[in-house]
């Protein structure tokens, strides 16, 4: 979906955990899933600070 987002001008789109679980990963144990989510959000916040 990222190419679609970029095509309409959402240049700061980053890959998520997937369609059914954008900020999660149900295959991971709960503590690892929380780490995954935290890392993803940190990446998103970093992207907000970048020039596009």
């Amino acid at each position: 979906m990222i190419p679609v987002a970029k095509e309409v001008g959402s240049l700061r789109a980053i890959a998520s955990g997937g369609i059914v679980s954008p900020t999660g990963n149900p295959d991971l144990p709960p503590e690892k899933e929380k780490e995954f989510r935290r890392e993803l959000i940190l990446k998103a916040l970093k992207t907000l600070q970048e020039e596009v």
Binding site: V8, G24, R38
Partner: protein, 232 residues
Amino acid sequence: MDEDNVGADLYRKRIYIVNSGPSIARMTPTLQRMAALGIKLARRESIGKPQDEGYLPRGIKRNGFAAKPPAERAVDMLLAKLRGEPFHSEIAAPKFAGSKPAAPLRDLKSAVIALVTDGGLVPEGNPDKIEPGRPTRFTTIPISGVTSLDPNKYDAVHSGYDTAIANRDPNRLVPLDAMRELEREGAIGKLHEFVHSTGGAHAAVENATRIGKDIASQLKTAGVTGVILTST
């Protein structure tokens, strides 16, 4: 009217607008087409396709029989495109106005970050009745004092993806728990007190545009400086 005339988009669905093009040099053929169309309307004759009668498309679709099946027509179009020959798409690709990305966030530690989603997060029971498909509105969910999205208090309503996983833990859709943690640690200034949520399944472009603008306007008024939008 010319197709780019502001009035064309406002009224094309309600009345027949003959495409005059941008120049008055075409006034004679335009008036002839208007007269011909007018006579047909007065006689209550059936009106043909926009490209045949010369009016701007009104967004009306009628079923009809074609000489070739759709697969053959699609391949014919593709072959024409590959050969660099003209072809006419049966469905016009939607035109997106596109938007200019915001300037980068300068200082994360003082930023007010909002969470927004098009994955259909709603409070339990969906009180604002957000539609699972073809949404026409968004909901504003207060999250003051909420540190994590409790699956008993929030649902995902969306016909475009399997919501079971998000329903078991809504933080997988809207990462509230992670954001609260970062707020507590001072990584961001503040997590905005509302989550704005809508659905993205079969959303009409006009509705999605309007919803997006309304959400953005509320966020700006509230002093939000950055948004994380999670999409399904």
